[in-house]
Amino acid sequence: MASRVARIKKGGAPVGDTTGADAPGDPSIEGTGPDLLLSANGPQPQRDLPARAASNSLPDSDSTLLSLEHVRISYRLRRSVVEAVGDATFQMDRHERLMLIGPSGCGKSTLLKAVAGFIEPEGGTIRFDGRSDLTPGPDRAVVFQEFDQLFPWRTVIENVAYPLRVTGHERAEARQRAEFFLEMTGLAAAADRHPHELSGGMKQRVAIARALALEPAMLLMDEPFGSLDAITRVRLQGELKRIADRTRVAIFFVTHSILEALTLGDRIVVLGSPPSHVRTVVDVRELGGPTDPRYIEVQQHLHEQLGATDKDLSGVEL
């Protein structure tokens, strides 16, 4: 039995996070609440992973940036408790790009918010860079799916430079650095515009530039391209890949698109339906690319893993 339920940290932001259909108060959630609570220690993560799956039970080492051990997270609603994450255990190396994939509502965003420090898990530990008492901080810069994560009253360059001022950079240096990252994200021409004068794709690029400029140990991205049209999405995926190759920043990337996961990731962690646990972890580093015959194979495997856990595949893009 869960005696300690995820405490939403002060500031309460996650409570108000009502993105998607799986908002708090959704009758389907409330209805399943108590049952989920009873099966809190339900299905254990599969340990016998396919050949290409990377082992997720290696002991911590210097190269490990992030590790999750039996992380369990629930939301307490007015009359019930929603078990979002049942048991999540995996690690992430420095400079690694880890893709978290799973059906809609399986707890991907919840896990990301826990790593970002917005939510405290009710069970298990999250260790980041050796620390386990995580509060929100610029060392884990977050890029959200929503376009309105920018400060509307600041210009593009101010949006990037302001956090740098907060983290203690001199005005001139902050500006210089902001210019550099805007250049990198192809936004130099829009530097003096206000966010509402930008397209959705440009807004997400500003958010990425803002996060990168902080030079975080890790970039947390929650479906950053999920609200973009297909063409813009593909273009930004390419840009992110290029930038990540250049900066070698570690990326914790939440997606529900298998294709996006394969395109951007080093490894892919597949979550099952809630209360979710890690179904499988797939290493895609040695794959050659879409032309590699094994690519199809992996794609098929992911498809099966996701399909096997969730009859309704509407939330997963192939």
Binding site: K113, A116, W153
Partner: protein, 301 residues
């Protein structure tokens, strides 16, 4: 008018073509959208705002004059535009209205500044602590519906018969609607934006100053507008209850005294002064909004 009719008719015709089948176009040119007034060079919405307002004003004055000419109201009760304008000019010439306006504005602005500051402090208190929240909720619920003039006797006992009593009453009239609007502004800030701000490491004071305040600015501005109206009403009402003779009374006192002396055009001159100040402040606030929340895309013009 005729434009839209024509568009409607066109739509019907092309609709008939579609059902007819054989001459159906696979491609149809996009309908030309005519915004009202794009046709006539001298249409209303194309005129500069100031000109439009002046015309509306002229029409109002014309109606006023018409009422005078048709109804011939008793000049001891009602005054026409010409007499009011003369009294207005004379009142400003001899300095009476100017000094009354200065007196009122001084009290009003000090009272409002204190009220706005208090509203801000209360909102911040309510934001950072639960006790503060309980306190502000209770005080707002109790004091906001109270006609602020009702506490004037109390204010007179505390502060004496002077401007401080009026300032207190105005500050009270302003602080609570301000606190209500500001906390609405604070609590309706987009949660994603708040998370982004916390992620950047923003805490307490910086969070309030750099995120909550600008994000809540549309609500704060409507709070300021409401407060301005409350403040005016309160100061005029307070001046009606006590004013000082001998030249240092405010506009409310000026109007009231003119009424006692049956100088109706002077009453109207005082009312016109209040109206003009109202228009000026409205314009100033609108300008501020255009430079801020409208420019930032947080509110439509």
């Amino acid at each position: 008018m005729s434009n839209s009719d024509a568009t409607l008719a066109n739509d019907k015709v092309s609709g008939a073509d579609e059902t007819g089948g054989d001459r159906r176009l696979w491609w149809r040119p996009p309908p030309t959208v005519r915004t009202p007034g794009s046709h006539h060079p001298l249409s209303w919405s194309k005129l500069p705002t100031l000109v439009r307002r002046l015309i509306v004003f002229a029409v109002l004055v014309a109606f006023w004059q018409m009422y005078m000419s048709v109804k011939h109201p008793n000049p001891l009760l009602f005054s026409g535009p010409a007499a009011a304008a003369t009294a207005f000019v004379d009142g400003w010439r001899n300095g009476q209205i100017a000094s009354a306006t200065a007196t009122t504005l001084e009290v009003l602005l000090i009272g409002m500044a204190i009220g706005l500051a208090l509203g801000l402090v209360f909102t911040i208190l309510a934001t950072v602590s639960t006790v503060g929240k309980d306190f502000v909720m209770l005080m707002t619920a109790m004091l906001n519906p109270l006609p602020s003039i009702a506490i004037l006797p109390l204010a007179i006992i505390w502060f004496g018969l002077n401007n401080n009593a009026m300032i207190f009453v105005i500050a009270n009239a302003v602080a609570w609607p301000m606190a209500i609007n500001m906390s609405t502004g604070f609590t309706t800030v987009n949660p994603t934006l708040l998370m982004a701000a916390r992620n950047l490491g923003l805490r307490r004071w910086r969070m309030i100053k750099d995120v909550l305040l600008p994000a809540g600015l549309p609500f704060i501005m409507s709070g300021v507008k409401v407060s301005w109206a409350f403040g005016w009403r309160t100061v005029i009402a307070a001046e009606l209850i006590f004013g000082t003779a001998g030249g240092s009374g405010g506009l409310g006192y000026y109007i009231n005294t003119s009424q006692y002396f049956l100088k109706v055009p002077d009453v109207f001159a005082g009312l016109i002064t209040i109206a003009i100040i109202g228009i000026a402040v409205e314009m100033l606030l609108n300008l501020f909004e255009r430079r801020t929340v409208v420019r930032w895309g947080m509110q439509r013009a």
